[in-house]
């Protein structure tokens, strides 16, 4: 971005540095304020809290415990150990269930929605529409569809003479139900990102390929996917993070059941911090999960995101 030419001479730069303009800071100030208030400050305050046995309603009993809240997470004999790792492995299981459909189906949808046909705009709206709902609406809707007594799915299955599974009270039914609800609810976001990226790919590439005799499948694998690579990594990363933050759907659809099988790590943090008022411990868990996600993201970019060609 540096301009080439005489202005790059050393004295001029120094002079420019001395004269700091307030304007750029004013431009970023609104964002910075909200970022500080709602992200940076809570994050650092969370680290602070995690070093105490902390209950915001009992300032008189708030002993400093150092790293104990973190050490507990690795001590099999401690109170939170079993539940925390159960939550973490449940979250991992959900990531395995959800990330592939959330990315794969979104990509296919985006390709379909990128073609030229009448009513394309309507379909784009329809597929994006669920994303605008709140987690409560989406979850309760799918709870009704999957619930065992008079739910839509099981009524249909019974109607065609099948013995329907107990979706929400059994494994893997509970994960399937939660995954379907989540895909239906959030797929629109990934689709839109893919769609925008698809529109950036020059038409001439496809024209050239079709002249060379490539069929549509080859065009998809050899042009679309490579051209989408950086967007794919981005979508994969945000989907991973979103899936790791799963809370509302099991909270409303399964209550964390059957037998805490869908109690995710965020759900567990909620129970520890809000229901059991062990906020220091909940903060430590959050920080640990954040670090875990950070390293996952790093690996993601390292293995899939290398952009040597560019």
């Amino acid at each position: 971005m540096v301009k080439k030419g005489k202005s790059l001479s050393v004295p001029a730069t120094r002079k420019a540095r001395k004269k700091v303009s307030i304007v750029p800071y004013l431009f970023i100030a609104p964002h910075l304020l909200f970022f500080t208030a709602f992200l940076a400050w809570p994050f650092f305050y969370g680290i602070y809290i995690s070093l105490f046995k902390f209950d915001f309603l009992r300032p008189e009993k708030r002993p400093f415990v150092g790293l104990k809240n973190y050490a507990e997470l690795f001590d099999p004999k401690s109170v939170p150990f079993d539940d925390f790792w159960n939550g973490l492995s449940n979250t991992g299981e959900f990531i395995l269930w959800s990330v592939l459909p959330l990315v794969g189906i979104a990509l296919v949808l985006a390709v379909l929605l990128n073609r030229n046909y009448p009513g394309r705009g309507i379909f784009r709206t329809i597929f994006f529409a669920p994303y605008t709902l709140s987690v409560t609406v989406a979850s309760v809707l799918w709870w009704w569809i999957f619930q065992g007594q008079g739910g839509l799915v099981n009524n249909i299955l019974k109607g065609i003479g099948m013995n329907p599974p107990n979706w929400l009270g059994d494994m893997p039914g509970a994960w399937i139900a939660i995954t379907i609800a989540t895909v239906w609810w959030t797929i629109g976001f990934n689709t839109i990102i893919f769609l925008t990226a698809l529109q950036e790919i020059p038409k001439s590439l496809y024209e050239a390929a079709s002249i060379d005799g490539a069929n549509s499948q080859q065009q998809f694998m050899l042009i679309t996917v490579p051209m989408l690579r950086s967007v794919l990594v981005f979508v994969l990363t945000i989907t991973l993070i979103a899936s790791a933050n799963l809370f509302g759907q099991p909270y409303l659809m399964t209550g964390g059941g059957p037998a805490e099988g869908t109690q995710t790590v965020i759900y567990r943090i909620f129970i520890e911090g809000i229901q059991r008022s062990q906020m220091g411990r909940a903060a430590a868990m959050s920080i640990f999960v954040a670090l875990l996600l950070l390293s996952l993201t790093y690996l993601n970019f390292k293995f899939f995101g290398s952009t040597q060609e560019e």
Binding site: L33, L57, L168, A259
Partner: protein
């Protein structure tokens, strides 16, 4: 860099001040509008129905804001009662009722931000934690004087005593919500079963009914898991003579012989008489509503819905084990202000509400007071509740200790579900493991909240 901080710091400070300022007004604003809306008509001087006690000094013109977790139709009932009191009481006290969703969080946030109302309805099992966490305030002498000396003798002992902590009174029981039986009158008649009365069935009556229902080729009962199974477990462990903890609430004891019997009995009933039902959202009751199930067990909050179905009858939980007992929760009324005049005014309202709790029974709750339950009027105001009113004497609330219910339920709940699903087959081992975990959590709670 310095210049950045020079602008940034003041901006952040100003911004955070703005946020706190907004927070303050936001919590106060609804209160103000509510009280305007429900101002009593000044000409209302008709004689009160409930026989109000004399007015404590200085309460004239006091406004009591009461919060509650009653977000359903029961909330409208409470609001109507508050309005009736506001217009009828001779002391010039106005009560505004605000039902709060996500109640616990709202109350705690308000406590932290200094925006607490005057009083609140709370679950009995949460009183100890809310006291330790400085949310609830004890009733002062002015407030206690309103109730008189032997007010407590009209409540079941276990219900009254949970409101007392370290010699101070923190709450007045309002109601009980016990695990009760819903039954299908039509199917009972067809099977030749005599409909249950106000006393709980004996074990023989219960087993006889199951056999007759089975013989008449209908589903005898529906048993699910989650809440229903956990509540039934707590009822049965007492029916078999056991309890969840020792009397002091410091040792978990539900892996006792009675606990194992209770768990095995639920599994037996479920496997033998119930279709496969599991999951949240009370599927066992939804199945019962379809009209081809003999009976099920659940809470009285279902009454207002089930009442609309002609075929549904209500009765106390049958004796399935050795002696009658049931699980139950209880709403209490507690103060969140220390101001003695406001406390006294709140006490006048609490006493009126308690005297008139047959009105509250219409919302689907069993009145806590014996005299109200014995009142023949109850049957006309709330028929189903009068059918199950005896349950109030069958309930034993857990010992009042901070976080105790969670320490127990969060462990035996999943253990019960796992066992009922058939994933483990040794009831004793399942309960042993859960019991040990409960013990560990209870010890942590004692360390956190004890002196």
């Amino acid at each position: 860099m310095k210049s950045i901080t020079r602008y940034l710091l003041p901006l952040i400070v100003i911004f955070s001040m703005l946020i706190t300022a907004c927070g303050g007004t936001a919590t106060e604003a609804p209160a103000a509008t509510e009280s305007v809306e429900t101002q009593p008509p000044s000409q209302a001087t008709e004689v009160s129905a409930g026989g109000t006690s004399e007015c404590p000094a200085g309460v004239e013109g006091t406004t009591i804001e009461m919060w509650s977790p009653f977000t359903g139709p029961d909330g409208d009932e409470m609001t109507a009662l508050a309005e009736r009191f506001s217009s009828e009481n001779p002391c010039g006290i106005t009560v505004t009722h605000v039902a709060q969703p996500e109640y616990q969080q709202k109350l705690e946030a308000a406590a932290a931000a200094g925006g607490l109302p005057s009083m609140t309805a709370v679950h009995a099992t949460r009183i100890a934690a809310l006291v330790s966490r400085n949310v609830l305030k004890p009733f002062g002498p002015e407030a206690m004087a309103v109730f008189g000396d032997d007010f407590g003798s009209d409540f079941p002992e276990g219900l009254w005593s949970v409101g007392e902590i370290k010699g101070a009174r923190y709450s007045i029981p309002l109601d009980v919500h016990p695990l009760i039986m819903f039954y299908n009158k039509d199917l009972f008649e067809k099977a030749g079963i005599e409909v249950p009365g106000k006393e709980p069935w004996t074990r023989e009556q219960f087993e006889d009914a199951l056999a007759k229902l089975e013989a008449s080729k209908v589903t005898p009962l529906t048993l699910g898991n989650a809440f229903q199974a956990a509540a039934l477990f707590q009822a049965l462990i007492r029916q078999y003579g056991g309890s969840l903890t020792d009397a002091a609430g410091v040792t978990a004891t539900y892996n006792s012989e009675a606990g194992v019997k209770a768990l095995e009995k639920i599994k037996e009933l479920k496997d033998k008489y119930s279709p496969e039902i599991a999951g949240t959202g009370d599927p066992e009751v939804n199945a019962f509503k379809q009209g081809n199930v003999g009976m099920t067990f659940h809470g009285p909050w279902w009454i207002s819905d089930l009442e609309k179905l002609e075929f549904v009858g209500f009765a106390p939980l049958p004796t399935i084990g050795d002696s009658p007992a049931t699980w139950g929760g209880s709403h209490h009324l507690a103060l969140t202000t220390e101001d003695s005049t406001t406390q006294a005014a709140a006490a006048v309202w609490i006493k009126w509400l308690s005297d008139n709790s047959s009105g509250w029974a219409a919302a689907g709750q069993v009145p806590a007071r014996q005299s109200v339950r014995d009142d023949p009027n109850l049957a006309s105001v709330a028929g189903p509740i009068s059918q199950v009113a005896e349950s109030a004497n069958m309930v034993a609330l857990p010992t009042q200790a901070a976080g105790l219910e969670g320490a127990l339920w969060d462990q035996f709940g999943p253990a019960i579900d796992t066992y009922l699903a058939g994933d483990v087959t040794d009831a004793q081992a399942a309960l042993d493991e859960a019991n040990a975990k409960s013990q560990q959590v209870m010890e942590e709670n004692i360390e956190t909240y004890g002196d």
